[in-house]
């Protein structure tokens, strides 16, 4: 039998995992909304963000929060660099070519990272460590609490940015109707550049969050980002709100499956929690083929 304390702890850690997935998914969604590119290189932003922060904080001894901000800036610059030098040249080519280009970038960046920093896992030495907060039998990881706070701040900041700034407005317009946006004088290049910068910064933030607490900085960070695909697609590719809800759903479902499935449904086999996100994704997509909040494509003949 599973105690209620364990259940509460699991729900809380599910919330934290979900927040990380939501941040990754948001990075995917921002680029997809603005440029219609399914960006595999988001995984490299996550990986490099983790390593930047480790280099600055653990290796050079900078203040951790300063290192976090600097690695987010680094991620943003990297995103702009990739957009300016590579993605821009292929605009208007078939979408497969663009997806494949981001896969190529993923290969290069991931392996260069391993080549520079080496394949071993290392401790980020974040101020939270593996400390826990004891609330009468329920132990909550401090890093998880901070992750949820950071994710919440990032999400609110994004909401305000899209709602109240002029560049946010032009990004929404460009996502809605690209040609009309260009016709009324919105600079599509700026929109693309800003969306890649935001995706890079978000990726770096996620990388640091994934590596903090019980996690570590290593080549595995990139793969976690690829596992977040179900979170992105569940909410709908065009919907930032969907990314958040999808991320939370998937994170929660994964942690709860890990806790409950060995006890109640052992016939599903060992390690079922690793495929649970995909099973949930397929089930929801079969009912709603454009995700929970995705835009239903209007099609003409």
């Amino acid at each position: 039998m599973i105690s209620s304390d364990a259940l509460i702890e699991t729900i809380f850690s599910g919330f934290a995992v979900g927040a990380k997935y939501a941040l990754i998914a948001l990075g995917f969604v921002i680029v997809f909304k603005a440029t219609k590119v399914l960006n595999f290189a988001q995984a490299s932003f996550v990986l490099l963000g983790g390593f930047f922060c480790w280099q600055l904080a653990a290796s050079w001894g900078l203040n951790f929060y300063l290192a976090l901000v600097l690695s987010m800036i680094g991620g943003a610059l990297l995103g702009v660099l990739i957009e300016q030098t590579l993605l821009r040249r292929l605009l208007g080519e078939p979408p497969f070519a663009l997806i494949m280009l981001t896969v190529g970038i993923l290969y290069v960046l991931d392996n260069l990272t391993t080549a520079i920093w080496g394949p071993e896992n290392r401790d980020l030495r974040d101020p939270w460590g593996s400390r826990t907060l004891d609330l009468g039998g329920v132990n909550l990881a401090v890093a998880d609490i901070w992750t949820i706070c950071f994710a919440a701040v990032a999400l609110v900041a994004f909401y305000l940015f899209f709602r109240y700034t002029s560049i946010g407005l032009s990004m929404r317009v460009a996502a809605d109707d690209h040609e009309a946006a260009v016709a009324v004088g919105i600079n599509a290049r700026t929109v693309h550049r800003v969306s890649w910068a935001l995706a890079g910064a978000l990726g770096a933030l996620t990388g640091v969050m994934l590596a903090s607490g019980a996690g570590s900085v290593g080549p595995g960070l990139g793969l976690i980002a690829l596992v977040a695909f179900p979170a992105m697609i569940l909410g709908g590719l065009e919907s930032p709100l969907g990314a958040v809800i999808g991320g939370l759903t998937i994170g929660m479902a994964q942690q709860l499956t890990a806790l409950l499935q060995p006890e109640y449904a052992p016939w599903l086999g060992t390690g079922f929690d690793r495929v649970a996100p995909y099973v949930i994704m397929v089930a929801i997509l079969l009912i709603r083929p454009y995700g929970l909040f995705g835009e239903r494509e209007v099609r003409r003949i």
Binding site: L101, G104, N111, F229, P289
Partner: protein, 382 residues
């Protein structure tokens, strides 16, 4: 187009240009014109002579290229001709590879039987996956198929009788590879001359590639192929003019995964044992991406493009793996112990994809097409 033209011969002397097609039958011929016939003969001669000229190690790479080619041709039917993106192709390759182990090695089935069984299993799995394509479109379908490699990993991790039956591995080296009196595994014995295993397998596997290519070409130029292309261009319009989307989409998924399973059989021939960690899960995702790279770099919607892509991608990967440390330019970082060969390989693979896409986003087939156009319209090549 050309079926509308009637056969009008010029009254006076002179014949139409050799590339002028007058009837639909002309359009559909596989070997049209003298150049193509000559090229086919050249290919046949190459096919027969290559195993005599190269070392067994090189031929081993070519057998691997053959396995990737068969799988890529299947994927091209799906992506290039029907427009349904799949990033789960490695899961179907795993179906074929583990059939070799379970039936060929463990139960001692003859080659043709387990090959047929692998193809049937591939068809069945494709039938199961096909219906997703009816409900999901574009990127959504692509992401759902990523789930396939992880589900396949879960199934194989728990189905130990298939994934790790003998001391934690799924052996394939015991599987028999012979057709009638021709034993490819021990090496062909033709009129007293004994050939090595690699030479024999080269002939066998590239014959299978030719079969797969012919099959794909025939599907593409038949009624089903036109239905597939109509679905790719606009599936709603295709439905309106009478193309059955259920039949077309499920059918192409089944055929594509059957070809992947056949590719998996050939893939298993190159190894002594198959490991589910290589074919499914995270590594399986990368293998699926390799297939995607082959199809896109080769050229979407052309059969020969898939083969060219497989040669480019697999051969360059193996070339770097084998020679990464010898050549002065590439070898530099490896000797400094700054970067392992595997990492160098992946970086160069990524760079290959990037540079190639920047120069020719439509792949090798487009490059070839440009060369061919130039010659076909010679001497007015402008």
């Amino acid at each position: 187009m050309s079926s509308l033209l009637t056969r009008v011969r010029p009254r006076k002397a002179g014949r139409p240009h050799r590339n002028m097609t007058l009837t639909r039958a002309d359009d559909l011929r596989v070997l049209r014109g003298p150049w193509r016939k000559a090229f086919a003969v050249l290919l046949l001669v190459t096919y027969l002579v290559v195993p005599l000229q190269f070392t067994d190690a090189t031929l081993g790479v070519w057998i691997l290229v053959a396995s990737y080619s068969i799988g890529a041709i299947g994927l091209n039917l799906l992506i290039g001709y029907t427009g349904q993106v799949s990033i789960g192709h490695a899961a179907f390759v795993a179906v074929g590879a583990f059939t070799v182990s379970a039936l060929g090695d463990q139960r001692g089935w003859p080659f043709l039987s387990y090959l047929a069984a692998a193809i049937v299993f591939g068809l069945l799995v494709g039938f199961l996956i096909g219906p997703f394509a009816l409900r999901l479109r574009g990127n959504y379908l692509a992401i759902v198929t990523i789930g396939l490699v992880f589900v396949a990993e879960h199934v194989l991790r728990n189905w130990k009788d298939v994934s790790t039956p003998v001391r934690g591995t799924a052996p394939t080296r015991g599987a028999n590879i012979s057709i009638g009196p021709l034993d490819f595994k021990a090496g062909l014995d033709l009129g007293g001359t004994v050939y090595t295993r690699e030479q024999s397998l080269f002939w066998l596997t590239w014959a299978l590639v030719a079969l797969a290519a012919l099959l794909a070409h025939n599907i593409a130029r038949s009624r089903s192929g036109r239905a597939m292309q109509a679905v790719r261009d606009h599936d709603l319009s295709a439905e309106v003019i009478g193309v059955d989307p259920v039949r077309t989409k499920i059918g192409v998924f089944a055929v594509s995964s059957a070809m992947a399973a056949a590719g998996g059989v050939v893939y298993a021939m190159t190894l002594g044992a198959v490991d589910y960690h290589e074919l499914t899960g995270g590594r399986g995702l990368f293998m699926s991406i390799t297939f995607l790279a082959i199809v896109i770099l080769g050229g979407l919607g052309t059969v020969y493009g898939s083969i060219l892509g497989a040669i480019l991608v697999v051969y360059s990967q193996r070339f770097i793996a084998d020679h990464g440390a010898d050549t002065p330019i590439i070898g530099f970082p490896v000797q400094q112990e700054w970067m392992s060969t595997g990492e160098l390989n992946s970086v160069l693979f990524g760079l290959l994809i990037i540079v190639f896409l920047l120069l020719e986003p439509r792949g090798l087939a487009a490059l070839w097409m440009r060369v061919r156009r130039w010659f076909e319209s010679w001497p007015f090549s402008y």
